[in-house]
């Protein structure tokens, strides 16, 4: 540890207490990375675990005084390296600020600290018959603060939208240690700029979220479930298009492709149709006759498209089993090798073209790609499976990862539907948004964090690189 580091670490320890400031490299190394294999990461000089907004203020003041970068981090479930460490920086781990401060059924909102686990919030509001929709796959261990920072989605989005759609207000500690409270407790409000939604999805580059006021929904009914299999990508795409054009709004509409089907069938011995090109799972949570009608209409669309199998059930346990084929797709693919999970969103009219494109990439690069995704909102997660010890295969896998982003952009889509840019897709962001938008990003970053202390190098580069 350099003398300078010793100085600011001592200041942190003096302000927060020794137990909240970790510097043992064996310990801090465990906070260096999230789940994104390809994303670059450094080593933190210190890991700080604040217990209060005042602690975060103290950290930011020390950081500002000494010009030390700060990387905010939740549970580390990220998939783009957004919270990957920066060499010599402070990694600010928000997991101890995990309180649900308030649940108000009367105003249908919750006030939480950022470290609360998504599932803990869901469980806390469920006791009042309420529902916090955003449900990333890591919902049982990811934190709401991380969800806010990356504007997470999940399986709910086709009906319920993403994290930003639930944000009423935020408390944010700014780069200079000042505390911003923005937003409101009311349903509507247009007093000033929508700063809350600027911080949401900014991946810790503009401030540290220390509290959030979140809108809730009435608890949905138990779902009715449909599963259908198709012989072609054209049929699969047709169902999604017709769901959109006929105005059906299922509460879940997911796809897995043949590679996933076989991997899941190998893992679960589920008796799936191993020759199906794609399997769709859908749910309606509208309840009662309306849900049955919704699922029947969807079943009719699947049959019209030429589905080989269409099966529906109102039994919740059977529905969970059917959904397991989708939920287990990633663990099943992991049996085939290391996995690289990509994340692009395309217009919903381009699903068949996207599935076909992934096939071409798989053939061209000679790597296995299993495609799964939130097909109802066009957010697809092609997952490349490869042997990490085979240098050639590794190289081809990385190339396929980029090809998929290319394909997404070519179809009018985006390089990230819900995982974020992080340190993984910085070059790709520049390509997607272009030079004017990049300048605007830099101008806003400079306005809020002129010294570039907050999560440097993430999302975009500060200056032309």
């Amino acid at each position: 540890m350099t003398a300078t580091t010793t100085t600011w670490v001592a200041e942190l320890q003096s302000a927060l207490g020794d137990a909240e400031v970790l510097t043992d490299p064996d310990v801090t190394a465990s906070y260096a990375r999230d789940q994104a294999m390809l994303a670059p990461a450094g080593m933190p000089a210190a890991v700080v675990l604040p217990r209060s907004t005042a602690d975060v203020v103290a950290v930011m003041r020390v950081a500002a005084r000494h010009g030390i970068p700060v990387v905010p981090r939740g549970a580390g479930s990220g998939l783009a390296g957004s919270s990957n460490a920066v060499d010599g920086a402070i990694t600010l781990v928000m997991t101890r600020m995990d309180a649900v401060l308030e649940v108000s059924p009367a105003d249908r909102l919750a006030v939480v600290q950022p470290g609360v686990v998504n599932k803990a919030l869901r469980d806390a509001v469920a006791t009042d018959g309420l529902f916090y929709p955003p449900d990333p796959s890591s919902y049982d261990w990811c934190t709401v603060g991380g969800n806010l920072s990356t504007n997470s989605g999940g399986l709910c989005c086709v009906k319920y939208g993403v994290t930003t759609d639930y944000v009423l207000g935020l408390e944010v500690v700014l780069a200079d240690g000042r505390v911003l409270r923005t937003g409101r407790r009311t349903v509507k409000g247009v007093a000033g700029y929508d700063l809350a939604r600027l911080f949401v999805g900014s991946e810790g580059t503009l401030g540290v979220i220390t509290e959030a006021t979140l809108a809730l929904r009435p608890a949905p009914a138990r779902p009715v479930t449909l599963v259908a299999t198709f012989a072609t990508t054209a049929q699969t795409g047709q169902v999604v298009e017709r769901v959109v054009t006929t105005g059906l709004v299922p509460s879940l509409l997911e796809v897995i492709d043949n590679t996933c089907i076989r991997a899941v069938d190998d893992l679960l011995e589920a008796g799936l149709d191993r020759d199906a090109r794609a399997l769709l799972v859908a749910q309606s949570d509208t309840g009662g006759a309306a849900a049955a009608a919704e699922i029947d209409a969807l079943a009719a669309l699947c049959r019209d498209a030429g589905a080989d199998l269409v099966h529906t059930t109102a039994d919740a346990a059977e529905g969970d089993l059917l959904l397991a084929a989708r939920r287990m797709a990633i663990p099943a693919l992991a049996q085939l090798g290391s996995t690289l999970l990509d994340d692009v969103a395309v217009p919903r009219s381009r699903i068949a073209a996207f599935l076909d494109g992934c096939d071409r990439i798989s053939a061209d690069r000679d790597v296995v790609i299993g495609v799964l995704g939130h097909v109802g909102d066009g957010n697809m997660h092609p997952t490349i499976c490869f042997d990490p010890d085979d240098a050639g295969q590794r190289q081809r896998a990385f190339a396929a990862f980029d090809d998929i982003l290319d394909l997404g952009l070519a179809l009018g889509g985006t390089i990230t539907g819900e995982h974020g840019v992080g340190s993984l897709k910085v070059d790709w962001l520049e390509r997607e948004i272009g030079p004017v938008s990049l300048d605007v990003h830099r101008a806003i970053k400079a306005a809020l964090d002129p010294r570039g202390l907050l999560n440097p190098g993430k999302v975009f580069r500060r200056a032309a690189g």
Copy 2:
């Protein structure tokens, strides 16, 4: 016209053509104000009516070259002076850029120019069975660009949210004339900061919106309507609270108070209960049995709360008649004198307290206040009726306007639910958001419009005042 003005006006005429650049004071004066009586307004030096993004770029370049302020404006339906003229400035009237460029049923979105009238967009997408929800009361003449700039709401918000919830992407001409394209055509996307939602609601202070990509919804079913009257504010508030806590989501939930009821009854001879303290109108657009069940559940809540009258109808024409009592409330109040329409949002648990507070203000200030509002989302529009030729009454009316904002803030609400800050509530904004948020607003403004050319003096002051 000064020599300098002559110079830049000539440059505008040379770039855009004489017909798009108006300088006759008799003509330009008609573009000086929106509908907000109390909001300060100046006189434009020129009014420009661009026909294309290139025209807007040309205007911003001339403005930047000469340091001339620019005030973007739609139809002038605003209620906060957001588009009121600034002395010596260019008023940029977007009404000629009124094309619906694309309606995509397959991706359930529309691409529009900002001058399109809200109703024209609604009609254009209705032919494809689609629905653009935001419905400000001025929907038959306000422009979508104005709606975007103030993040407009309307009667739909209790179920469908506000304008920002429908914005996928924007094209914006920046203060220096560069064209920013931000956002996307996909349902989901987290590539970079949510710039689109930063521009939405920024009231023309950060850029000029020249195109918008807007999400659409499936067309709703014909509504089932309920009307109920109550003897007390406590009963009225109880129904709203129970709607929230029981998880009912009507497509419309509106209130008018006794003053409005009498004014409407005088105007329409509708046979309303002139002694009722409040009248609620609600609708469900879920369709079929689900709608009937929703309205029955709401009727039961009204009866439980002690409603004097509860009436429901599935007949669309009768529903329109019942809703007319709410829709005609403002014209009816206008029969009583000049009207000052306020706009606050309070938490939905505070409706009774808000109605009682307006009563107190009416008594204290000795002015008539008719309260109407989107009670289902807490966005209330107390409307002060006064004789503008009576100086004392005028003064008391203005004081009551401020008292209502005070009341809204005291109840945990906001000074504007959907009309915006404009030039009307600049002082109040500072009070609501506080010094740190004000600094952040200023920093973002300075980052995007360093010379302060775009709509100066609106929303907040650039420097401490």
